[in-house]
Amino acid sequence: MAEQEEWTGTIGRVLLGATRGDGGTRSVQYCIGGSRDLPFLPGEAPCGKRPLIALEICDDPVLWPPVVREQVGDLAGDTAAWAREAEKTYGADLVRLHLTSTHRRQTPDPDGMKKTVESVLAATTLPLIIEGSSDPALDSEVFQRCGEAGAGERLLLGTAEADRYRSIAAAALAYGHAVIAQSPIDINLAKQLNILLREIGVPVDRIVIDPYTGALGYGFEYSYSVMERIRYAALKGDTDLAMPVISAAPDSLTVREVRDAAPADRQERALSWEFHAAFPAAVAGADIVCVRHPLSVKRLRDACSALAARQKGTPAQGGG
């Protein structure tokens, strides 16, 4: 083993968001990936680069974590305003919209969903991640509408799984978006899904790997190691794993430790619990880290900037 490991691979790049010049309406386009070394090590990239931070919002907050609803108040009922605040007040790099209304199976409302996506696109200038249908029966309709609503904006669409990837791949191909490919904490299944997506025609520079992230204390270590292994394998030359990684630990804010915390401590416990899965994910190499508590954004950004800084006084840029 040498001082510097010999790497033969490079993580592929994926572009997210389209500005007017690229045919969209976003204020910025991010380029994620491109690493040539382990996360935050000197060989990784020419300049210190921190991961992007996405704030998650939803169009139907009934099942959304109570600590977030407490924090955002009325915003929870106004998806567009919520998205605007994510950018203006909380300083997120990306907004990740979960169409949780698709949980209500009785009332699939593709037109309403399309309007929601359009209103969020109008409310924020940030690149968007859209989490479409949560019911396989609605996939085809929902992803078609989402894809169409965001045509030209280079959305990141979620979430493709091994037995559920055709609709989302179709939307990406038809309307020029990228896709999140999720596998259940298993490097080989991640690889397999990437191959399936490639075979259906999704180019590699449109795939972002989601290895699935368990909450801290609830299997997080498995996710952490899978992220490390994906980066390691990719750098060792496995091109089927050489895509950027997105990490979200959706259960962070509803674990027992948060629910049972004393009311006075609950917000701090929630923030800290979310941080302790999000920040380690960044250390493991996630290129996009998602959080749900709006106050987590700054906390995480400061920490990631400090990590990306080799010396004092060299500010790190998100994405780019």
Binding site: M1, L41, G217, F220, S225, D265, W273, H276, A306, R310
Partner: protein, 448 residues
């Protein structure tokens, strides 16, 4: 490069005399290869071979023990760069920082917290390991006094932070025999600090910025006869710590720089970034860390992360087998069988709790295997299920004889019914579907 068991075997006397405590030379060789035996215990090796074997089987990162007694902790002996390659070995010690400028009461309050505060989690007790006392006053007397206050409160590992050997000497006079970690030998004071460390047989942290400077200073201190060293790379930013500690770990594991084969220290008190620093240290090779006495609301997550990361990936945390209650189950509520693999248990628990279902969980001992692997390997079978039902007196709790098996255990259902005489329902494979399954099927089930 470490030697393989057979290479070592070739160097052994092959007498199978058992004097080393192992039944055969081959077993001894395998233990040596995995660092679980000492070449010294073989009476028939010549000195040259012994040294060769010791060099080849010496842990690439030396073990350093801090403190004495029950709360003492060991660090070092790590063997991998990534936990997935084998496992991380010794969880880093986390110490609360106090200053000798604080009042006696304040110091005592922190020390009492370190003594008493525990967080039970997944069958383990999570706690902070000890206390670090910093000589902010510059006065040896004040430093000594602060250490005394800590000493009076309880016995747990201490770390002494002072730049001046005189202050350090005053503190060591109070606690020097209890293996406190001395912080720190620097380019300026290493002679005096080494003498103190040797006099008390205490571990010594050496502080120098960057791997090269550390290598020189650690080499000097080792040559001066201090055996137990800890390396403080003295980083300016979190990023610098990550880079330096990774380099140190790499060089140490490659055995290409024995002077760096020691545990690493991180001062995690960076303002505003303390939980980030603690997380990074846990993830990336810190063995001893100092933090301010953090609010339990954010301390528990740090301790939980440490517990997660230092779990052996090949030996998942096991739950104690038995009956677990979810919500407030009463007689007649559903009984679900699952395995004692903690990830399975917690995943299932999460879904059950969030759907507010009251039920009984019977955790059977599959040695931490998941349902699928336990079924495949035969660890989960009808006889052990029958025995578990009896051993834990399940029927007395549930008041019925209907058992829900996990979906992946479906092939066992018939045999379980026959072996136990209980009615068996087969649940879904995915824990997420369990609440709906119970909603749909339990009410219909006889006995349910």
């Amino acid at each position: 490069m470490a030697l393989k068991a057979l290479d070592i075997y070739k160097l052994l006397p092959k007498k199978n005399c058992k004097e080393c405590g192992f039944p055969t030379c081959l077993t001894f060789a395998m233990k040596l290869a995995s660092g679980k035996a000492d070449a010294e215990t073989c009476p028939y090796l010549d000195e040259a071979t012994k040294q060769l074997l010791k060099g080849a089987t010496r842990p690439p990162i030396l073990r350093v023990k801090i403190g004495v007694g029950e709360r003492s902790f060991a660090v070092g002996e790590e063997i991998v760069l990534f936990r997935h390659d084998k496992s991380f070995v010794h969880p880093p010690g986390i110490l609360f920082l106090v200053s000798d400028r604080q009042t006696t009461d304040e110091i005592r309050r922190v020390a009492t917290r370190v003594k008493d505060e525990v967080f039970p989690r997944v069958g383990e007790l999570l706690r902070v390991n000890g206390i670090a006392i910093r000589n902010d006053s510059g006065s040896p007397e004040a430093f000594g006094k602060a250490v005394r206050v800590v000493e009076e409160t309880a016995e747990f590992p201490e770390m002494l932070i002072a730049g001046s050997p005189a202050s350090m000497e005053a503190a060591l006079a109070e606690c020097g025999n209890y293996r406190p970690l001395i912080h720190a030998a620097t380019a300026e004071n290493h002679g005096a600090m080494c003498s103190l460390a040797k006099r008390y047989g205490a571990p010594l942290a050496v502080r120098a910025r960057g791997a090269d400077a550390l290598r020189n200073l650690a080499g000097t201190c080792a040559a001066a006869g201090v055996q137990d060293l800890v390396l403080d790379p003295f980083p300016e930013t979190l990023g610098e710590f990550l880079i330096t500690s990774t380099l140190i770990r790499r060089l140490a594991l490659a055995r290409s720089a024995p002077e760096l084969g020691y545990p690493v220290y991180l001062d995690a008190t960076a303002p505003g970034l303390e939980e980030a620093a603690l997380s990074l240290g846990i993830l990336k090779y810190a063995a001893v860390m100092v933090t301010t006495p953090r609010n339990p609301a954010s301390l528990l997550p740090s301790l939980t992360l440490r517990q997660n990361i230092y779990t052996d990936p090949q030996k998942p945390i096991q739950m104690t087998p038995g009956i677990y209650r979810v919500g407030n189950p009463t007689r007649g509520d559903p009984l679900l069988l699952t395995v004692n693999f903690s990830l399975t248990y917690f995943t299932l628990l999460g879904y059950l709790e969030s759907s507010r279902i009251s039920c009984f969980l019977l955790l059977v001992d599959t040695e931490g295997f998941s349902v699928l692997t336990a079924v495949a390997s035969g660890k989960l079978n009808e006889n052990m299920i029958r025995d578990s039902l009896q051993r834990f007196g399940v029927e007395a709790e549930t008041g019925h004889r209907t058992l829900v098996l996990p979906g992946y255990a479906a092939p066992l259902s018939g045999r379980v019914e026959e072996a136990t005489g209980w009615k068996v329902l087969v649940g879904p494979r995915d824990a997420a579907e369990v609440p709906e399954f119970l909603e749909q099927s339990w009410k219909k089930a006889p006995g349910g």
